[in-house]
């Protein structure tokens, strides 16, 4: 699925119940992170749920594996990964993720007060991108 398709799918969902159900589907479809990565080293700090993020660097592009023990957060992670995966560090830097989440009707999940780890995850992705520039 492309990001455009995802945005279109979300545009048909006009209440939170349906949006959450769709997020749950996305979460269920997110590939599980191999257990060996579920260590403190790859944990994203400060979350209400456990969140892991593993960066991989290949051919000038960044690829991330992510996971959480909470299903809605997994759904959100799968969107974040769809947005950032296999992009160059400078592409990552220029992505306005807030705009995309607003289009999805999920913008509240990116507020710093929403302690679901998404915000920390995005910061971490940007940090890895910055480091590999």
């Amino acid at each position: 699925m492309t990001l455009e398709e995802l945005i279109e799918n979300f545009s048909y969902l006009d209440n939170w119940e349906d949006r959450y159900s769709y997020l749950i589907d996305l979460g269920n479809n997110l590939e599980n992170l191999p257990e060996e990565y579920k260590t403190p080293e790859w944990k994203v700090q400060g979350c209400q749920s456990q969140v892991w993020l593993v960066p991989q660097f290949q051919d000038g592009k960044l690829h991330f594996l992510g996971d959480s023990d909470a299903i809605l957060v997994r759904g959100l992670i799968s969107i974040v990964l769809m947005i950032y995966n296999d992009k160059s560090p400078s592409e990552i830097k220029n992505i306005a993720i807030e705009d995309i989440f607003a289009k999805l009707g999920l913008e509240e999940n990116l507020s710093p007060s929403r302690r679901n780890g998404l915000m920390s995850m995005v910061s971490k992705i940007k940090f890895y991108a910055e480091q590999s520039m």
Binding site: Y20, S49, A70
Partner: protein
């Protein structure tokens, strides 16, 4: 008892909508809502009476100094301290406990001395002692609680040793709701030669608190949980002990004489209140305690006890719902997990239904782990909580179960 629907009018936010749903606020243990009398009192001061305290001899400053010291008097009466000099204003309970660790602890504890806490402590009554342990080599002992969250007297007594110099315990667990028998524990600590510190953050909101009756040496609480403002807390200490302690921070307002060579310090409470204090917050706290006193702590307790029995009757024996912390002596704090649903996922759905609960480790991670969980959800009650609030939870959980399971 009071009419809860009447007093809810004192808390405007309770009748507002949250996510277009009636506001079901079940997170008073994290921070309580504020009655209008507190909000109005603070606004009135900022509008008409504001100045610094303990400074000028002009009218406004003298006036507000009187109000600030009156707030101390209100606190003194609320906890039945022997003197208002035993009441120190801090930022919050966390700072109160840190103050004791940093001043009394550093001065009177030596390597090998033991500080004893329970398994049910908030990080605020755990980490300061760990820091002290790492700094001066005391040892930090933790006495176990039962699997249902109950206090275990035999364990407590087992852990009280001749080396125990301080027992520091919560009066009521912010995760399990367990209420500890403070008076008896204090007596046993004293018989053993140890001082007794109470983290009364939760306890004082729900139980009449009398420091002389408990006979505790220190007691800490936060204003924002007692229906008062943020930024203000209290440390109570017996005067003789406070008088033996060095200052915590130093600067203005707490000094007696200062020369470039040497400074002498004021007695308590000024000694422990360096710099301009949270003046308006202290006065707001006084107003909040007045509000509770007017309702009557016995009435608040009766109202909440009734809610606790009601909640137990509704939530115990529900398939798929597990209460974490079911001690017989329990106040209005209910941690729970729903089979197959991560607490964070659950909270997302409850939020959309207008229900505020807290999820996570509740700043008591070792306790949550000891109970067998990584994270739990928590519903907690205040003096304005209704049976309707309790009734709202299960249908919302059912809705979450439909979505997630």
């Amino acid at each position: 008892m009071y009419n809860v629907y009447e007093i809810r009018k004192d808390f405007p936010v309770l009748s507002e909508l949250v996510n277009n749903k009636p506001n079901v606020f079940l997170d008073s243990a994290a921070s309580a809502q504020k009655p209008l009398s507190v909000i109005n009192c603070m606004q009135e001061i900022y509008n008409h009476h504001y100045a610094n305290v303990h400074r000028g001899i002009y009218h406004l400053s003298e006036d507000i100094t009187a109000s600030y010291e009156e707030a101390r008097e209100i606190v003194k009466n609320f906890i039945n301290a022997a003197s208002s000099d035993e009441v120190i204003f801090t930022r919050n309970a966390t700072e109160s406990i840190n103050l004791v660790a940093a001043t009394w602890g550093r001065k009177f504890l030596r390597a090998g001395d033991e500080v004893l806490i329970s398994q049910a402590e908030h990080h605020a009554n755990l980490v300061p002692w760990q820091m002290l342990r790492d700094e001066i080599g005391i040892s930090l002992k933790v006495f176990p609680i039962a699997d249902d969250g109950s206090y275990l007297e035999e364990e407590y007594l087992k852990y009280l040793t001749p080396r125990t110099k301080l027992v520091a315990v919560t009066g009521m667990s912010n995760v399990l709701g367990t209420i500890f028998p403070l008076k008896k524990m204090a007596k046993q600590a004293h018989q053993n030669g140890a001082l007794f510190l109470v983290d009364a953050c939760q306890y004082i909101v729900h139980n009449k608190t009398d420091v002389q009756d408990i006979d505790c040496d220190f007691l800490a609480f936060s204003g924002h949980k007692t229906y008062g403002p943020t930024g203000i807390g209290v440390l109570y200490g017996k005067y003789k002990i406070l008088d033996s302690m060095p200052p915590y921070q130093t600067g203005g307002d707490m000094v007696d004489t200062v020369t470039y060579e040497k400074t002498t310090f004021m007695p308590s409470p000024a000694r422990f209140e360096a710099g301009t204090p949270a003046i308006v917050q202290a006065i707001g706290l006084g107003e909040a305690l007045k509000y509770m006193k007017n309702l009557g702590m016995e009435n608040i307790k009766a109202h909440e006890d009734e809610l606790v029995s009601y909640a137990k009757s509704k939530w115990e024996n529900v398939k798929g719902l597990t209460l974490v912390g079911t001690a017989p002596d329990k106040g209005g704090v209910f941690s729970f997990v729903v089979d197959g649903i991560h607490p964070s996922d659950l909270a997302f759905v409850l939020d959309k239904e207008g229900i505020s609960v807290r999820t996570g480790h509740h700043c008591a991670a070792p306790l949550v782990h000891r109970m067998g969980y990584e994270t739990v959800a928590r519903a907690s009650f205040g003096l304005y909580t209704t049976r309707g609030d309790i009734d709202a939870l299960l249908p919302a959980i059912r809705k979450a179960q439909k979505m997630f399971l």
